[in-house]
Amino acid sequence: MKSFTSWIRKREQLLLGTLGIILVIAVWQLISDLRLINPFFISSPSQILKTAFNQTVNGDLLEDFWITVVEFVVAFALSVVLGITIGLLMGLFKRVEYTIDPFLWFLYSTPVIALYPVLIIWLGLGFATVVTLGVLFTITPIIINTFTGVTQTSPVLIKAAKSFGANRRQILFKIALPSAIPMIVTGLRIGVERTLVGVIVGELFSANAGLGFRISYYGARLQVSSLFVAIVLVIILGLILTQSLRLLEKRLLKWQEF
């Protein structure tokens, strides 16, 4: 009996969390079945599951899911390469930092999505526009974190390397970059969330495919079940991405401690 209570104690959070999710789903189903709220507006878990199954069999759900994933990967990869490069340059050269700083602040406080009409004209509807929006959403935290990481490199390390005759390139790749890695990874974690937001917003406003487009399409046609299927997929995608980056971050931070 005692071991049973301690077993529950240990897994309390997990058990309660599962219970919470089950409760919400059950209440939702009940409200819908008893027609306390018109199911037309809120659908129901069983209906959503059925719709999801049908759309998966059709194949078009997976196709849109795939498009979103590809757009996400391209946007994120571009942001990482551009963001780390710019952040490094800013950290290494004072004048680059001073020059870029005001633009970074502007990009940080502007609702980037408002630029979508300009982007559509320049890049057309779809892939290129969505990816660009994703990059604009993502690049600021990556730049800022890389920059902070590089400038926080211990000056003692750099001095030591210099006295042992290291050149600029060696200092950059052997000291500045490795010591900035934890900060950069934190930037990537924040970035992942923002890329997904950027891609979904981009698809919502200016695309003809992808999960965001699906949400917009079914929303406009008041097909709430199909709408929920797409939303749930977006939630799952978000959870997978943020959790995997969190794990990566934990690992790298552990490595740093040694």
Partner: protein
């Protein structure tokens, strides 16, 4: 700044600070020089390219045109109507979010069971790009002010909620136990110990929430609406009035910037006050 110095060094040295400040006002630092120079070069390049008459240039307007459009908008009454509606939405949704976030945070921070029940749901929604829910909000609350208030609420509530939970859990358990021993009721615990103890965390949550609230307002209005700054952005964008579009974008960016800066000030003040209170 001066406050901080006084509290840490005990000997008040106001004079050097003010002299340094005065000097800084007259001479540009290297940072400011390069920054202002870069912005000026950017604006000049934009102006030149915008006047060059190439096809792409027609769609990016130019700074002089943005200024002109801004003057026109500011002198007309229409702009203020849109601004007023946006402000209504953002303040309505934001106040609701702060109230619900702090209250929910108190409950979740205080009770292990409530926290356990809702933690995965909150985390799942926090990791979700909430923009995905905007079409649903439109179906539920209509295309008017209601759905935007809901969007602002949804965007702003999670930072407030999560920071409140963190703040509450960081309150020194000794204080809680001391309060209990002296017979404090749960309500007294909330108002006298838990709330004041977690105020700094709550305020930084509110600051983060403000930025999100702005995004929720703009995207909600841009998606479907009949009035508001976001509505202006999408309708001006769709009719290719780029000068006017950039003006409205600047206004929205300014609102976000001013709001979070004010809240940052408040946060710093509270931190100083708290350090002093704890120090004494």
């Amino acid at each position: 700044m001066e406050n901080k110095m006084n509290s840490t060094t005990n000997t008040a040295v106001p004079k050097p600070v003010s002299i340094r400040r005065r000097r800084r006002a007259f001479r540009l630092s290297e940072r400011q020089g390069w920054g202002i120079g870069a912005v000026l070069v950017f604006l000049a390049g934009w102006e030149l390219f915008g006047s060059s008459g190439s096809v792409l240039a027609r769609y990016i307007s130019k700074p002089s045109q943005v200024v002109q459009a801004g003057a026109e908008w500011l002198s007309g009454g229409d702009f203020y109507r849109h601004l007023q509606i946006s402000l209504q939405e953002i303040f309505g949704g934001f106040l609701l979010a702060v109230a619900a976030g702090v209250l929910g945070g108190l409950l979740m921070g205080r009770s292990r069971i409530i926290r356990g029940l809702f933690d995965p749901l909150v985390m799942a929604l926090y990791a979700t790009p909430l923009v995905a829910l905007i079409p649903l909000l439109i179906i539920w609350f209509g295309i008017g002010v209601g759905s935007k208030i809901a969007a602002v609420f949804l965007f702003a509530v999670f930072p407030v909620l999560l920071n409140t939970i963190t703040g509450i859990r960081q309150v020194d358990p000794l204080l809680i136990r001391a309060g209990r021993s002296f017979g404090a009721s749960e309500w007294q615990l909330f108002t006298k110990i838990l709330l004041p103890g977690s105020i700094p965390a709550i305020i930084s949550g509110i600051r983060l929430g403000w930025g999100k609230a702005m995004i929720g307002m703009v995207i909600g209005e841009m998606y479907v609406s009949t009035a508001g700054l976001g509505h202006l952005i999408s309708s001006l964008g769709n009719s290719m009035k780029m000068g006017d579009l950039f003006f409205v974008i600047l206004i929205v960016a300014g609102m976000g910037y001013v709001g979070s800066n004010l809240l940052l000030r408040l946060e710093e003040k509270v931190m100083v006050w708290r350090e002093e209170a704890l120090g004494k």
